[in-house]
């Protein structure tokens, strides 16, 4: 048996199919993964993401510590509540984890890391805190619900604490409203508008039920994966890991090379890799033939293997199979995917595939 979030009894009550995920027992779907996916693209869905781990980082050296720890630069976070997506790298330039970090007030930050890597991440953070005046606080007391979709914010608004409601509704994308007990970010992992709400664990079931009563569809990990794939967002452990770094997984945009004197962990290795320029490139694929692309299938060019699928699946919005893949630099616009021994034609495209309910690639 895995760990259970505070919402586990709600998932059971709703008849979810529960599966092990990153050490937790989590809902895969509540009936139809496709319906859950469409609910998020068309109206509003909610996800229990309490398995993800908020970590508070505070102290006089919090900023200089995070500027050393993370490959993106928290010095960009000039306004309180602003969020930043970053990789946390090892010295080889591989990815320890990807995370979101929010600036709260000077000297105070909140990061959210992945469930399966939380123990490793916090040990890594502690280890690299030596010499910095900083406290690292694992917030196991918080639950987290993501409410996503074009109607998500409106449906959630009335359910937010009165003192946080107006600030939350006025948030720009990638900002958070900080109510100390509740923390509401206008962020997500679906390519739709919405909130990610952190709140005390004992209040989570109440919010979940109220959202459900407001017509928000409970959604499981299955829909979460097809939504993030359509949105062209990476999944840690699949698209990148401790050996596959950001340059090879489409995350070059998250690296803050300037200022040149900032010494973040992994910088030296990444600089060498960048200057050598012969690393794999990360692309989107649209299957033009019939079938479904799956992880680890080979990408072929004129019958020669040129790369591998890192995340493949069926896109419910496009009703086609799509994938993210790592391939040799300079491949043509068309290729084949090896599916059960057959070469099935595909087109190389630039992710995202879908944003805000609309196709972003030509079919």
């Amino acid at each position: 048996m895995g760990l259970r979030t505070p919402l586990y009894p709600e998932h059971e009550r709703l008849g979810a199919r529960l599966v092990p995920f990153g050490g937790w027992d989590m809902p895969l779907h509540y009936g139809s993964q496709l319906e859950e996916h469409h609910a998020v693209r068309r109206a509003a869905g909610m996800f229990d993401v309490s398995h993800m781990q908020p970590v508070d980082i505070a102290g006089a050296d919090a900023e200089s510590y995070l500027r050393h720890l993370l490959a993106n630069d928290v010095a960009k976070l000039k306004a309180p509540g602003k969020a930043l997506y970053s990789c946390m790298l090892n010295a080889r330039g591989g990815v320890v984890d990807d995370l979101i970090v929010y600036a709260r007030e000077p000297g105070r930050y909140r990061a959210v890391v992945n469930a399966a890597t939380a123990d490793k991440d916090i040990a890594w953070m502690q280890r690299h805190a030596a010499g910095f005046e900083v406290e690292i606080d694992r917030r196991s007391d918080l639950a987290m619900i993501a409410v996503q979709g074009p109607e998500a914010r409106q449906r959630a608004a009335a359910l937010l604490p009165a003192d946080l409601r107006e600030a939350a509704m006025q948030l720009q994308p990638f900002f958070a409203a900080d109510g100390e007990r509740w923390f509401v970010g206008r962020t997500g992992y679906t390519g739709e508008d919405g909130f990610e709400i952190m709140l005390p664990a004992d209040e989570a079931a109440g919010l979940w039920r109220s959202l459900n009563a407001a017509g928000v569809q409970p959604c499981g990990l299955g829909a979460r994966d097809t939504l993030r794939l359509e949105a062209g967002m990476n999944l840690y452990g699949q698209d990148m890991d401790e050996d596959i770094g950001p340059l090879e997984s489409g995350l070059g945009w998250t690296l803050a090379w300037e200022p040149a004197e900032r010494e973040f962990i992994g910088r030296e290795a990444l600089t060498q890799q960048r200057d050598a320029g012969n690393h794999g490139v990360f692309v989107g694929l649209l299957l033009t033939g019939r079938g479904v692309i799956r992880n680890h299938q080979r990408v072929l060019c004129d019958g020669r293997a040129v790369g591998e699928v890192t995340s493949g699946g069926f896109s419910p919005t496009l009703e086609r199979s799509i994938a993210l893949a790592r391939v040799e630099p300079g491949i043509a616009d068309s290729c084949d995917i090896e599916i059960r021994g057959k070469a099935v034609p595909a087109r190389v495209v630039q992710p995202p595939f879908v944003r805000h309910g609309k196709a972003r690639i030509a079919l």
């Binding site: 139809s32 299955g222 019939r290």
Partner: protein, 131 residues
């Protein structure tokens, strides 16, 4: 508990088999199987005329989650595949025992049909699997 029609025969790998009374058998997947697979988005049928061995992977059903092989219940030759599934693979979810059939084949030994699992035995196998 999922539906298990009494008049059909079954395999341990969750195919159902129907005797058409004309020397051919029809194959699909059970209600239990479609529920476990989730939303089905693609079916790769066998080619008509293909010789199949018993327990040979003969078709593929892909759900949003994963690809699953469909095994031939008995040796024989494929005579027809369900064209509906090309454009509406989700028919397997909505009608696993009727409109969602996958292929029809002529068994090499028609009497072997009676060696397949009956409904009660299949139901028991599913229960044991869930324990």
């Amino acid at each position: 508990m999922s539906e298990v029609p009494a008049e059909l025969r079954y395999t341990k790998t969750h195919e159902w088999v129907k005797d058409n009374g004309d020397g051919t058998l029809t194959v699909g997947i059970t209600d239990h199987a479609q529920e476990a697979l989730g939303d089905i988005v693609f079916v790769e049928p066998p080619e008509v005329g293909r010789a199949i061995a018993a327990e040979e992977a003969s078709a593929v059903v892909e759900s949003v989650k994963a690809a699953s092989d469909i095994y031939a219940p008995l040796a024989g030759e494929i005579v027809e595949t369900n064209a509906t599934l090309t454009d509406a693979p989700e028919t397997i979810n909505t009608s696993p025992y009727e409109d969602g059939w996958i292929f029809r084949f002529a068994p090499a030994d028609p009497s072997a049909y009676h060696n397949l699992l009956d409904a009660a035995t299949y139901e028991q196998a599913v229960e044991d699997e869930d324990d």
